[in-house]
């Protein structure tokens, strides 16, 4: 009679264990894909580390590092097809790169350039969403549009563990269930929402089990195991494409601060961080690839060098992009500038005072 708290059993999908050993039948992933996955992880990490450095030098603005979450982001995005759409939060640089956003674009975003919002020009990636949860509804609407227009496109919303507390998250999953939309909600449970641990965010023992509230499919995956994430996401996308929305919980860890403005030593133990460094997603995958004889230290070093150069070039491009001008802000409010906006735009010369 009584549905007792947390009685649903949830089993986490894992392919590689922490040392990079196979723990279940190998999913059908060819070596090329393995290399692709790993190389993207290297790029994401390299970008991330550079961005942190640049922020400290005052050359870019606030940045939300993704270090530690490369497997979750790369593994999930790698499974998308070109026609699929991504609805990121502010921490999705890894996933966004894989789905076609340029590093330059991301730098421009962090530099506070208006052009930083143009991800959707060249890739099916919505602009960064700051409001926790809002992107889930946009993904629902996008999925709905693709369903009505028969586009065979899945919309994927990226959100954090903390974000699952928002009303918008709930409403989005409920709509997805009711309309059988081609949408995947990809939750990166990185254990922290700024200073609030996952355990204080919700009393449900997993996020995956929240699917039960919406009559949709749920699954939990080791978010530091890129092979588990990739293969799980492939299946999730397959279901979504058939009109069966899926909630994926990728269990991972935010190795760095929440953003460059945050000091995590205020609220979390170093021992916890260290124990998760052991489970680092790149380390694990590298070990597996070396074991498999398709990778070695030299290749590895080279890959980081390539990535470094790529990041350098991207930053140069961003730095050489002209700064946004105040006049431009009036151009993006409506399709046609209203009289007021025209007037305000032309008042810039007189410091915004109408004469």
């Amino acid at each position: 009679m009584w549905i007792e708290p947390n009685e649903t059993e949830v089993n986490r999908v894992q392919v590689l264990n922490e040392t990079g050993k196979l723990v279940r039948t190998y999913p059908q992933i060819c070596d090329e894909e393995l290399l692709g996955l790993y190389k993207w992880m290297v790029q994401a990490r390299t970008f991330d580390q550079r961005a942190l450095k640049l922020q400290r030098q005052g050359r870019i603005g606030t940045y939300a590092p993704m270090i530690g979450q490369e497997a979750a982001q790369i593994g999930s995005a790698f499974a998308l097809k070109e026609q699929d759409w991504m609805y990121p939060s502010y921490r999705e640089v890894g996933a966004s790169l894989v789905h076609g956003v340029s590093m330059e674009n991301f730098f421009l975003y962090t530099m506070g350039n208006l052009q930083g919002g143009t991800s959707a020009k060249n890739a099916n990636v919505f602009p960064v969403q700051i409001i926790i949860g809002a992107q889930c509804l946009h993904a629902v609407g996008g999925a709905w549009a693709s369903k009505l227009q028969h586009e065979n496109s899945v919309s994927v919303a990226y959100i954090g563990d903390g974000g699952t507390s928002q009303g918008d998250f709930h409403e989005a999953l409920n709509f997805a269930g009711v309309y059988k939309l081609p949408v995947v909600f990809f939750v990166q449970n990185n254990h922290w929402a700024i200073s609030v641990p996952r355990s204080k965010q919700t009393a449900s023992s997993t996020i995956a089990q929240k699917a039960a509230a919406y009559g949709i499919t749920g699954i939990q995956v080791d978010g530091n195991d890129v092979l588990a994430v990739y293969s799980t996401m492939q299946e999730a996308l397959k279901r979504a494409r058939e009109g069966k929305p899926v909630l994926v919980e990728a269990v991972t860890y935010r190795q760095g601060p929440h953003t460059t403005a945050d000091d995590p030593t205020k609220y979390r133990q170093n021992t916890e961080v260290e124990s998760w460094l052991e489970k680092d997603p790149l380390k694990r995958m590298k070990a597996f690839m070396i074991d498999r004889n398709i990778w070695d230290e030299e290749l590895d070093q080279k890959e980081f060098e390539i990535a470094n150069e790529k990041v350098t070039k991207a930053f140069q491009l961003a730095e050489n992009t002209p700064n946004s001008k105040t006049e431009e802000v009036f151009d993006f409010v409506f399709e046609q500038k209203t009289k007021q906006l025209q007037e305000q735009k032309s008042s810039i010369g007189t410091e915004g005072v109408l004469k």
Binding site: L137, V140, L148, E171, F175, Y179, E335, K339
Partner: protein, 326 residues
Amino acid sequence: MTSMTMIEAINLTLRKEMERDNKVVCLGEDIGKNGGVFRATDGLQAVFGEERVVDTPIAESAIVGAAVGMATRGLRPVAEIQFLGFIYEAMDQMAAQAARIRFRSAGTLNAPMVVRAPFGGGVRTPELHSDSLEGLFLHSPGLKVVMPSSPYDAKGLLAAAIRDNDPVLFLEPMKLYRAFKEDVPEEDYLLELGKAHVLKEGEDLTIITYGPTVPLVKNVVEQIEKTQNLSIEIIDLRTITPIDEETILASVQKTGRAVIVHEAVKTGGPGAEISALINEKALFHLTAPIIRVTGFDTPYPVPSVEDDWLPNATRIGEGIKEVLSH
């Protein structure tokens, strides 16, 4: 030409727009089989099917948020919020999402969508069904706010709103849904958003109003002009944002006196902006202070006192008298 009520004009427009453009879809609570609590969408589901006329769960943020998602991916959603008082639930999706997606994406994306909602008092509803909240959206850049005061206007404005490439909040005065009929052309016509309508020219005083209070103001003015040697100009704004400055300023420059009438509460409402605008650009033409005849600065009250709380005929008459006393 057919004689019809405002609700019929809205229903007709929705049907015509859905026929014209198969990207137009309607979504909202009880808009399908039930045809909307006021029958604005009556019969549409039978014609266009459950995919294009969708009953949603009760979740306003999701209705507007999903519309943003649809609009940025090629559809032209027309969302209904059952009563404007419930739009608070969707405030982020309205003011921070729909309104800003063009800006956020530096013009890469845009959200051609309409959010329809009935509003306004005088019809004895439960709490939060009669509130006039349009003022909040006047202060939310990126949204247009349109309100018809007649069946004819409703058709031309709603069609224009649906074809606009930016998000439009289309507010329908409940009280006027079935208040009167007028001739409405079946054929396609559009009324320009952002353009006010000078309902009646006059020399001595300008009354600026919109939506639910327009017929009331017309009546009051008719009565006054019958008995007094006065000539009053009436402006029906039709769109409160972007606001039609030219029309307002030209009129006040001529008459030197203005009364603003709206049901929204006084402080921080649309009347404040209109008054400030006149002050800014036509101050020296004023021969009297601008009077705002509006809802009082309280929550919308219970039905038993709403008629006195609203800007009714006596209150408007008194406002006119006061402005003319200078």
